[in-house]
């Protein structure tokens, strides 16, 4: 391999832009021609192995061409200025702008998808193959009305824990502090500790969303012991003209407007702007309105970057604003109110009319992120990268209060997080690569004065530091990965002790030191069999809520008390994934895991209620136990590769408390889901019709003791979604028209994983009308 190409190869390995254009001019410059007479012949090769990529669609000024078995396409009668769009399954779509001065031959190198820190994932031949290991931008845009967690739930192993219109992701049965979300290469640093807190992130800023839960987890601070959802932002295409995408969805339930626009401009400095607006009113069950469940969101993102042979930099600023109503009937006082509300056939305060107003109880959240990244490609072997990231989060929660205080937040928090990362990526030999990183951080969280209520969590600041190392060995059919990290944190908090002589402030200091290590192995056997297995030992520090929270949570009738004596959680997880292609159309896969967590932190229900002047309240205290969590998913996929696709997915999880000898609550119930899809090309390459039917059957959860939860788990249920999409060309623009229906049969049911199930049914039928325009 010539040295020059090797260098470029290395550069592009670290830049996600992943395209190399080599122009080979056949003849000297003949000057610009006004007539459209140029010929272009192109060859599309896989970057890694230089294999010809057949079935690549190359659109030249929107006219589609297909590559032949040698990966070659040929276009003629071209004018000087041409836009190329290269699409190949499994690769990110590339946009290129060229000015032709003569007949031209070009070689394009496309790189298959991968992460910066390449996780070991079972991969199929096609990007649309199920189970999805990664959501691409088309799949994200197609679900633009959903929240981030709901989008991510299309990935295997990811489910959603809801509190009405608040959704947070569950990975392999765990959620909250144990799940991480990485954006701009940095963990999202916000108020995520409560079950009624959604991650403050706009999924539509992602070029792709993927799940990592192998050894690559340890390159991030080690809170996320079950897995991390990674939001990637692909490099801005080199095309110097303004391109982008606008999409809008109207949803019948809640009369929701969801609009989003993405603008890209390449050139010397690439620029990208993303704006998202959502306005959804009160949702509806088949029988009644869910009064005060409106949701408004306005988000903005700006990205600037420059890539060169030796350097790369990127600046990204994002702001996320949301205002959500909490079901009015879920705002209750003591145990008497709770039992009244649970037994009500229609939630209290239900109105007969639709409304977009958001009244108390409600939440107003703003999250800002500034991220700076710079990379230096020193030589073939060494790449340095530096990240500085600042995040600011303000959260205000409003409750129904006495004395005109409803307009004053009853919880008001302001959090700042600073994070830096210095990382060296080093190729030790042809097959062996490594990474080392240092990650200092500083967090500061303050209760904003003026609520007139004792804070649920104390003011605190936290200094943290982490170091990690990672080794990758890539052989022809085997990949081996190992990683290790150390984390340190010093937490200084000011809490208030409730005493009979008043509330007394108290300072508390804590230090934690944790060590984690992991290894993973992936092998491609003959006969289309892939096996992947990982072993991870991770230590997690207790979160600030687990240590110090005190008080009543919004929408949850129970007093929660932290426990400042908590120690580190120690998790040992083994997971295995097997995938076998039985023949070209039929594949099966099985994924299983077993996780033993010693010192598992959970809210332990106390045998006695707490009696206060407001009546009796259930009391929960954070305690530690030893827990086992296990799960399995089984997947069968039949893809005719022409029109029909069928698949069936079965998932099962269980969690046990080994000391109390009972089941863990909020472990996802077993479920069986399927997909029947029919795809048809109407007009060769320009129009495509896609119909999908997705039934889902969820089993009831059993074995939960009466004192563990406020209400017994709901019965099993069956629901189905249906969607229809037409991809076509209109006014020379690529467009998608779609209709999708959630809960097609308008079935009344309650979902175990929704904390509003104590009070209300799930939402009924929802018809979405979608339009996506590429330009």
């Amino acid at each position: 391999m010539p040295k020059e190409k090797q260098i470029s190869k290395l550069i592009f390995r670290f830049l996600l832009s992943s395209l190399l254009v080599q122009l080979i001019f056949l003849a000297p410059n003949n000057g610009f021609g006004q007539e459209c007479k140029f010929k272009l012949s192109g060859k599309v090769l896989d970057y890694e192995h230089e294999l010809s990529l057949t079935h690549t669609i190359v659109k030249v000024n929107n006219r589609p061409y297909n590559t032949d078995s040698a990966g070659v396409f040929f276009a003629d009668s071209l004018c000087a200025k041409i836009h190329l769009k290269i699409t190949h399954p499994g690769c990110e779509t590339q946009l290129i702008y060229l000015v032709l001065t003569k007949d031209t031959q070009i070689t394009f190198y496309l790189e298959h998808d991968y992460h910066q820190i390449k996780p070991l994932v079972l991969q199929g031949k096609s990007h649309d193959e199920y189970p999805l290991f990664r959501l691409n931008s088309n799949q994200i845009i197609a679900s633009n009305e959903k929240s981030f967690a709901d989008m991510a739930s299309a990935l295997p192993g990811v489910s959603v824990l809801k509190t009405g219109n608040v959704s947070k992701p569950i990975i392999d049965g765990l959620y909250g502090n144990r799940v991480g979300i990485v954006d701009n290469g940095v963990l999202l640093n916000s108020q995520q500790w409560g079950n009624d807190h959604a991650p403050e992130i706009d999924g539509l800023t992602a070029s792709s969303i993927s799940l990592i839960k192998g050894p690559e987890l340890l390159s991030y601070p080690s809170a996320a012991i079950s897995g991390i959802l990674v939001i990637e932002k692909k490099n801005i295409d080199k095309d110097p003209h303004l391109h982008g995408l606008a999409n809008y969805t109207y949803s019948s339930n809640g009369r929701g407007h969801n609009a989003n626009i993405i603008l890209n401009k390449g050139g010397k400095i690439g620029l990208r702007t993303i704006i998202t607006y959502k306005n959804v009113g009160d949702m509806q069950t088949p029988r009644y309105f869910l009064t005060n469940t409106s949701k408004k969101e306005l988000n903005f993102s700006l990205q600037a970057e420059k890539s060169g042979e030796k350097k790369f930099w990127r600046i990204n600023y994002q702001i996320f604003n949301s205002n959500l109503g909490i079901l009015r009937g879920a705002h209750i006082g003591n145990l008497t109110d709770l039992s009244n509300a649970i037994n009500a056939s229609v939630p209290f305060f239900t109105e007969n009319n639709f409304s977009r107003n958001t009244m108390a109880p409600s939440q107003q959240v703003t999250h800002q992120t500034l991220s700076l990244k710079k990379m230096w490609f020193i030589n073939l072997k060494n790449t340095w990268s530096f990240i500085y990231n600042a995040q600011q989060n303000t959260r205000k929660e409003f409750d129904i209060r006495r004395g005109n205080r409803t307009d004053r937040p009853s919880l008001s928090l302001n959090k700042w997080g600073h994070y830096a990362e210095l990382k060296l990526s080093k190729n030790l030999s042809k097959n062996l690569s490594s990474e080392f990183g240092f990650q200092p951080s500083f967090d500061w969280n303050n209760n904003v004065a003026g609520t007139g209520i004792l804070p649920l969590i104390p003011n605190y600041n936290k200094f943290g530091g982490g170091i990690f190392g990672c080794l990758n060995l890539d052989k022809k059919n085997s990949h081996f990965k190992t990683s290790a990290r150390l984390d340190y944190a010093h937490i200084n908090s000011t809490l208030y002790l409730r005493t009979i002589v008043g509330n007394i402030p108290k300072n508390d200091k804590k230090q934690f030191l944790g060590a984690s290590a992991a290894a993973g192995f992936l092998h491609n056997f003959k006969n289309q069999l892939q096996i992947k297995t990982d072993l991870l030992y991770v230590q997690r520090m207790p979160g600030i809520n687990e240590l110090y929270s005190f008080g009543l949570h919004q929408g949850v009738s129970g007093i929660e008390e932290g426990n400042s004596l908590l120690k580190m959680e120690k998790s040992l997880k083994w997971q295995i994934a097997i995938k076998k292609e039985i023949h070209h159309a039929l594949s099966v896969s099985l994924e299983s895991f077993v996780q033993r967590i010693n010192g598992f932190i959970y809210l332990q229900p106390q045998p006695d209620f707490r009696l206060t002047i407001r009546g009796a309240f259930p009391l929960f205290i954070y305690q530690q136990t030893n827990a086992d969590i296990l799960g399995s998913t089984f997947f069968v996929n039949y893809d005719q590769n022409k029109n029909w696709l069928f698949n069936v997915n079965a998932a099962w999880y269980a969690g046990y408390n080994r000391i109390d000898k009972n089941k863990l609550i909020y472990i996802p119930p077993a479920q069986l889901s399927g997909l029947i899809s029919y795809r048809k090309k109407i007009n060769y390459h320009t129009s495509k019709l896609e119909i999908k039917f997705q039934p889902r059957y969820v089993l009831a959860v059993n074995g939960i003791e009466a004192n563990q939860d406020f209400k017994a788990p709901p019965p099993d249920f069956f629901i189905a979604n249906l969607s229809l999409a037409l991809h076509t060309q209109f006014f020379n623009k690529e467009m998608t028209f779609g209709i999708s229906i959630d809960n097609v049969f308008d079935h009344s049911y309650r979902d175990y994983l929704n904390r509003m199930r104590y009070f209300a049914d799930e939402t009924g039928r929802n018809i979405h009308f979608k339009l996506v325009v590429n330009f």
Partner: protein
């Protein structure tokens, strides 16, 4: 570019760090908290008043509340008046006026454990002419032991069936106070 970027980083990071000096704030008191319910029962036609007091000074904390009760005389009518106080504040703050001002959004309910204890009638009203319950008339009848439950509901459905007669069953709303007093009629 290297120098430029560095200066950008410092331009942004430094002020951000400097802003964050830790400041103490006023979170050591709770304005809305009710720590104390004081029930004054004055016999109609003279005699000394009786007091029932429920005091829970640490709010949601674990300390047990203190309860003061007294005995009542049978076949006697008492004028009952409630006072809600926040004694966690210094000086103690009377919350009763705040509840009276928002009378339409509040109602007090009285539940006697045994109908032999007597009857309780509302003697006040909110702006809509519906009962509020900060004052009432307690007719003590027979000589028995039992309990009196006093509940303050916020945003109840005051038009609900029988709610105006003091029946809590259809009242809905949120409970602000729920207290049980042991009661002994001589």
């Amino acid at each position: 570019m290297k120098i430029k970027l560095k200066s950008i980083i410092f331009a942004i990071a430094l002020p951000a760090l400097l802003i964050q000096s830790c400041k103490k704030d006023d979170h050591d008191h709770e304005e809305e908290l009710i720590t104390t319910l004081k029930v004054t029962l004055t016999p109609v036609g003279g005699g000394s008043a009786k007091f029932f007091i429920y005091k829970d000074l640490d709010g949601d904390g674990a300390n047990v509340a203190s309860i003061v009760t007294d005995s009542l005389d049978s076949n006697k009518i008492y004028n009952l008046v409630l006072e809600f106080i926040n004694e966690a504040e210094n000086p103690a703050k009377d919350i009763t006026a705040e509840i009276r001002n928002e009378g339409k959004d509040h109602q007090v309910f009285y539940q006697l454990s045994n109908s032999n204890l007597g009857t309780i009638k509302y003697t006040d009203a909110d702006g809509d002419g519906r009962p509020l319950g900060l004052s009432a008339e307690f007719t003590a009848s027979k000589s028995v032991k039992g309990s009196l439950k006093i509940t303050l509901r916020h945003e109840p459905n005051k038009a609900g069936n029988n709610v105006a007669n003091g029946d809590i069953t259809n009242a809905k709303g949120e409970t602000d106070i729920e207290v049980d007093f042991p009661i002994f009629i001589k």
